[in-house]
């Protein structure tokens, strides 16, 4: 179709407004931060330490919970069992509840006077005000992203390929690691990136479980509360830049993998 299309033009206009809504505040933040401010902030020990803490806790949360989430996603994709839909809905709960409420829930679960807290103390592991607590809070709010993406990835792998592998003498474990996992890998990697990114940007749940040591979102909030916008902004800009570098790198990595088409 050719010629003037008012509807199409209107949709493009709406899309442009939407893009502006996302880009304008970010661009404003970047433009109002001078290069000197940017580098000074990046060199600050507290900021660098907080960014490093945010990166490794979010990565560790993703990796630790992936060990359970990926096999569980395969179960959700392949097996029929009672209450499967209820269980799938439970997995999505962290996405829909306020994250401060999630933080309260986790704190209530791992505080020192709870069974889990006492068990942790016994093992020399404390969750409140520690990186372990940060990892728990990050994982709680971000796990649905991995489980859902991995489940969709496994669903896209034709089941007959797994059956063929079994028939060819492979054990269920070998089938999982040589057929299911490689063929669902692109979706799983995408889920891992989303889980990691979501965990890294978490504020509400983490601030309740572990105000200290400060992850960067908490540091930005603290600087804003104590010193105002102009002190919080450079930290936010540095953090966004670091996140973007990792995000772009991992996205490029994920496009190398192709999902199975059977």
């Amino acid at each position: 179709m050719t010629g003037f299309q008012p509807l199409k033009l209107f949709f493009v206009f709406l899309g442009g407004l939407l893009l502006l809504f996302v880009i304008a505040p970010l661009a404003g933040m970047f433009l109002e931060t001078s290069p000197a401010e940017f580098f000074d902030t990046a060199m600050e020990k507290e900021v660098a330490g907080s960014i490093w803490l945010t990166l490794w806790t979010s990565m560790l949360a993703t990796l630790i919970f992936a060990l359970a989430a990926i096999p569980f996603s395969w179960i959700l994709a392949r097996k029929k069992f009672p209450l499967k839909r209820v269980i799938s809905a439970i997995i999505d709960i962290p996405v829909v509840i306020p994250h401060s409420a999630a933080g309260i829930a986790i704190l209530g679960f791992v505080a020192r006077d709870t069974a889990v807290g006492r068990l942790g103390d016994h093992l020399g592991l404390s969750f409140v005000g520690t990186p372990a607590g940060i990892i728990l809070a990050m994982a709680f709010v971000s796990i649905p992203f991995l489980v859902n993406a991995a489940r969709d990835g496994f669903l896209a792998v034709p089941e007959k390929l797994e059956k063929a592998a079994l028939n060819l003498g492979a054990s269920p474990a070998r089938v999982f690691f040589t057929v299911s996992l490689p063929l669902a890998w692109r979706s799983i990697l995408s889920g891992l990136i989303m889980m990691w990114a979501r965990g890294m940007s978490e504020f509400g749940a983490v601030v309740i479980v572990a105000y200290h040591p400060m992850i960067t979102p908490v540091l930005i909030y603290e600087r804003f509360g104590s010193f105002g916008l102009s002190y919080a902004r450079p930290v936010a800009v540095v953090f966004i830049c670091v996140c973007l570098v990792f995000f772009v790198f991992l996205r490029m990595l994920s496009t190398k993998y192709e999902n199975a088409d059977g």
């Binding site: 034709p158 007959k160 390929l161 059956k163 063929a164 592998a165 079994l166 028939n167 060819l168 003498g169 492979a170 054990s171 070998r174 040589t178 057929v179 490689p182 063929l183 199975a260 088409d261 059977g262």
Partner: protein
């Protein structure tokens, strides 16, 4: 060799009902049935890939019904080959050999041997996405043969290929069978069955309704599906009862016909060839014991003459000349009489 006894399973609306058949060593057994008859499910049950079926599957005298998939000794080739898309042809064929924990040199030797037999040596480095349908099936065959299965199960391996590729693959399957490999092959294609099978089983409504050598199955069909294939359009299931004198009555859903047969009473099938049906405007006094009024439903051109479908309570198909169509002024809706002799009706017990 392979014995399937009273195999039953219910999967949603689909059901297999007490499937029974036997396949001898080195035999090429083709299970013939329409799409949805349960052929693929049956193969997967034999392979242990669909659990929950009742009945017994014996292979070389050993009950493998509860055996693990990996230890059943049957190789399954899926309809669309089910090659692993992330592995090249070499890795696909080597996949089962890695389960045997062979060293790389031995794996290489075995893969090349299988590739040579299936004529795919040039394809070893190619990815499945770049293979034609026929090439994929050859790779799937080589891969399934790698574990030297006692019985090879083929799920419509030829059906989706074009004529030339079909010919080539049929020739390969004959070669594999000639090497002593027992094969169970399921298909909906009669031609495939007739050209490959040393014995045929016909599967209908979830059970095997007839087994035998191809000429026997096709000359005395016990299913409408096979009857239609061999050109018999008038096929009815019912019961033979005692009648007057030498003639017997065959009762079926929709009518009753006289049959001249020496077979004893009981359940079975009747067939009447379209060529043996006579169409007339009025009731025709003749030696034909069966004469029914009816209405023409449709006229369809046949290879020779015209096929006239007449509703007499059930639909009968008569083959008449174009001249007769013109002389009798036959058209949909015409009232006619259909007659045939009791001796034209073949009764097949079963």
């Amino acid at each position: 060799m392979l014995t399937v006894k009273d195999l039953s399973v219910k999967l949603g609306k689909f059901e297999l009902n007490g499937v029974n058949f036997e396949v001898g060593p080195g035999e090429y057994f083709v299970l013939l049935g329409v799409s949805g008859a349960g052929k693929s499910v049956l193969l997967q049950i034999i392979g242990g890939l669909i659990p929950g079926a009742s009945g017994v599957v014996m292979l070389n005298g050993k009950d493998i019904s509860r055996e693990k998939v990996q230890r059943r000794g049957v190789g399954l080739v899926f309809q669309d080959a089910a090659l692993f898309p992330h592995m090249n042809v070499f890795k696909n064929i080597a996949y089962p050999l890695r389960s045997l924990k062979l060293n790389d040199r031995e794996i290489d030797r075995r893969v090349r041997e299988l590739a040579d037999m299936t004529n795919i040596t040039k394809l070893l480095k190619r990815n499945p996405a770049n293979l034609s349908g026929g090439e994929k099936q050859r790779v799937a065959l080589a891969r399934a043969l790698a574990l030297k299965p006692q019985c090879l199960l083929l799920d419509e391996p030829i059906s989706s290929l074009d004529v030339q590729l079909r010919r080539e693959l049929r020739s390969l399957l004959r070669k594999i069978n000639a090497n002593g490999q027992t094969i169970v092959h399921v298909t909906h294609d009669y031609e495939e069955a007739a050209l490959l099978a040393s014995r045929i089983g016909v599967i209908e409504n979830g059970s095997v309704v007839q087994t035998g050598k191809a000429p026997e199955v096709f000359s005395r069909p016990k299913s409408e599906f096979v009857a239609n294939f061999v050109g018999i359009r008038n096929f009815f299931r019912g019961e033979l009862r005692d009648g007057k004198d030498s003639m017997k009555k065959f009762l079926f859903d929709g009518g009753e016909v006289s049959v001249l047969t020496g077979e004893p009473e009981g359940a079975g099938y009747i067939t009447v060839r379209g060529e043996d049906l006579i169409i007339s405007e009025k009731r025709w006094e003749s030696s034909a014991a069966n004469s029914f009024p009816g209405r023409v439903i449709a006229l369809e051109p046949a290879r020779v003459g015209t096929e006239v479908l007449v509703d007499i309570g059930v639909t009968l198909s008569a083959l008449v000349s174009k001249e007769s169509v013109s002389n009798l002024q036959l058209e949909p809706g015409s009232k006619v009489w259909v007659s045939f002799k009791a001796s034209a009706v073949k009764f097949i017990p079963g």
